[in-house]
């Protein structure tokens, strides 16, 4: 019988902050979205204070709990590296590990036998010791059950962090107490349709007639019922699917009213997007650029967006030109711009790129320059070498006032220890 485990980090971003500053243990910690906008991760203590997911920082800052809360700007360089470390630890337990999201990993434990609960506790212990990140482990014969088990391990202290639903009898005990909304992939419209059919709990859905499941929810619903009954239908994916698009969109630190600032921002976003293309070995044949004012602060409203074909290339200098062409056509002076973005679509692997009839730059020279650019920036840190059009001071750049050091990726930001 297949056996899957889902290892899910508890309040992952907050836990990453605590990993390098244990004094934060026991304090309400929150992590803010890009531009220090709203709450995207909360420690248990912050949840107990009543801080809501998505709550705007400016409200919390002025609220009664501001003094006790420790806030952080998001530090994705750190979170990405800690996620990698977790996956590396898990690979010692099974070579089949699926990084489902930055803080959730599926493990295939099929064929190992033995005491799966003990294995789950050992996995938690290893991850905690080596990355300082607390996790919960859910185990089951299908990924859907492993995910449900993980939910229980998180919610119910009696499981001590590990919940195994391999045994059908164990499932029969818990299923009636679980609302269908807790199932992976059941939300919104599907949930409402199930409610109309009188299906509210997981045991009711698991008991649904197969034909009825297919009629109501296509083959996906049928697969879900099978998975809930313990028949694995969803295999482990160890490789991320090819990206359909690359988007870099950010709000500014202040309202942008000056074309120089807007052009710097758009050029920067195009540079970032091209970096992502090269990292994934892709080229893009289409681009979308948008800019807009703030909908909520009473500023005169403007939303401009334009999509067009572009030269398929990985060269950021060419794509900056393409992005600025779009931005120029959207720019209306006198508005107070709040956000802009560059999206790349119609992606294909670089080898299968439709050859450009009249390339702007010699493709081989361009490839060499981009290789050099990436190598310098990998060695000395992002943006060490960058097109001057992306700006020097970048006053418009996203706020990250409370970002912690990038402890694991920058040599000048590593942890300090005082010899005693």
């Amino acid at each position: 019988m297949p056996a899957f485990a889902l290892v899910d980090a508890n309040n992952f971003y907050c836990s990453c902050e605590r990993a390098f500053d244990p004094a934060l243990q026991g304090l309400p910690v929150i992590v803010l979205s890009n531009n220090d906008g709203c709450v995207i991760s909360r420690s248990e203590e912050a949840k107990e204070l009543g801080v809501a997911m998505g709550a705007p920082w400016f409200q919390i800052e002025q609220g009664p709990d501001a003094a006790s809360i420790r806030q952080f700007s998001s530090n994705y360089a750190l979170y990405g590296d800690m996620s990698r470390r977790i996956l590396e630890v898990l690979r010692r337990w099974s070579w089949k590990v699926e990084p489902y999201s930055i803080d959730e990993m599926f493990l295939d434990l099929s064929g190992f036998g033995g005491d799966l609960v003990a294995r789950g506790h050992a996995i938690r212990r290893d991850v905690l010791r080596e990355t300082k990140i607390p996790t919960c482990v859910g185990i089951g014969p299908s990924k859907t059950i492993a995910k449900l088990a993980n939910h229980l391990a998180k919610q119910r202290p009696e499981y001590a962090g590990v919940c195994d639903l391999t045994d059908p009898e164990a499932r029969a005990v818990v299923y009636p107490s679980l609302p269908v909304g807790e199932i992976w992939g059941v939300a919104g419209a599907t949930g409402r349709r199930l409610a109309r059919m009188g299906i509210q709990t997981v045991d009711q859905l698991a008991a649904l007639d197969m034909r009825q499941a297919r009629d109501a929810f296509t083959v996906i619903g049928q697969r879900l019922v099978m998975e809930l009954r313990g028949t694995s239908c969803l295999p482990l994916n160890m490789l991320a699917p090819q990206r359909k698009g690359v988007a870099v969109t950010r709000s500014f630190s202040h309202a942008v009213t000056d074309w120089r600032e807007m052009s710097e921002a758009v050029a920067t976003y195009a540079t970032r997007a091209t970096e992502k293309l090269r990292r994934h070995g892709l080229v893009a044949a289409g681009m979308t650029v948008f800019m807009r004012t703030n909908r909520y602060n009473g500023d005169p409203s403007y939303r401009g967006q334009v999509s067009y074909e572009i030269e398929p290339t990985q060269d950021c200098l060419i794509l900056i030109g393409e992005a600025l062409r779009g931005a120029r056509s959207l720019w209306r002076p006198s508005y107070r711009y709040f956000k802009a973005g560059v999206m790349l679509h119609d992606l294909s692997p670089v080898g299968r790129m439709p050859a450009s009839m009249f390339p702007t730059r010699d493709p081989r020279a361009s490839a060499r320059i981009m290789t050099a650019l990436d190598a310098v920036n990998a060695r000395f840190g992002r943006d060490t070498l960058r097109p001057a059009v992306t700006g020097i001071a970048r006053e418009w750049a996203t706020k990250a006032e409370y970002r912690s050091p990038r402890y694991t990726t920058r040599i000048d930001e590593i942890m300090k220890a005082v010899a005693i």
């Binding site: 010791r129 081989r364 220890a417 005082v418 005693i420």
Partner: protein, 130 residues
């Protein structure tokens, strides 16, 4: 050379005229991240500050290779958090408990437990200025 043509990597074996007698014996150069195990998920770099451990050869500015997977070891150097402060201290086992020692005697030995915990053990040291 044609623009865009990258020079081939030469490792001592790929000669154009006379065949290199070394071509069957080419080995990889030494990679310090292998030697120092920097790819292990539990390994982190930590900067030492202060001169209290100079007698152990740990100076201000040294980069320590910290291994969170390593068990505590008597006489080893631990990276530990003491009352919220990150310290570097020699570890000793006394009267059934681990203690953090202060090398210059400036602080009393601190038993692990309340407010004091090991974060990692120092496994190696990198000094970029000699």
């Amino acid at each position: 050379m044609d623009a865009g043509e990258l020079p081939l990597a030469y490792t001592g074996g790929e000669t154009t005229g006379f065949q290199s007698p070394a071509s069957d014996y080419i080995e990889q150069g030494i990679d310090l991240s292998d030697v120092l195990d920097l790819d292990k998920p539990g390994v982190y770099l930590v900067r030492a500050s202060g001169q209290a451990l100079a007698a152990r050869g740990i100076f201000e500015g040294d980069v320590l290779v910290a291994d969170t997977a390593a068990p505590p070891r008597a006489g080893g150097v631990a990276i530990a958090f003491v009352d919220g402060e990150c310290v570097l201290a020699t570890l000793a086992y006394r009267e059934g408990a681990w203690h953090l020692l202060s090398a210059d005697g400036g602080r009393a030995p601190r038993p692990l437990g309340e407010g004091a915990a090991i974060w990692a053990m120092a496994a190696a040291l990198v000094r970029t200025e000699v």
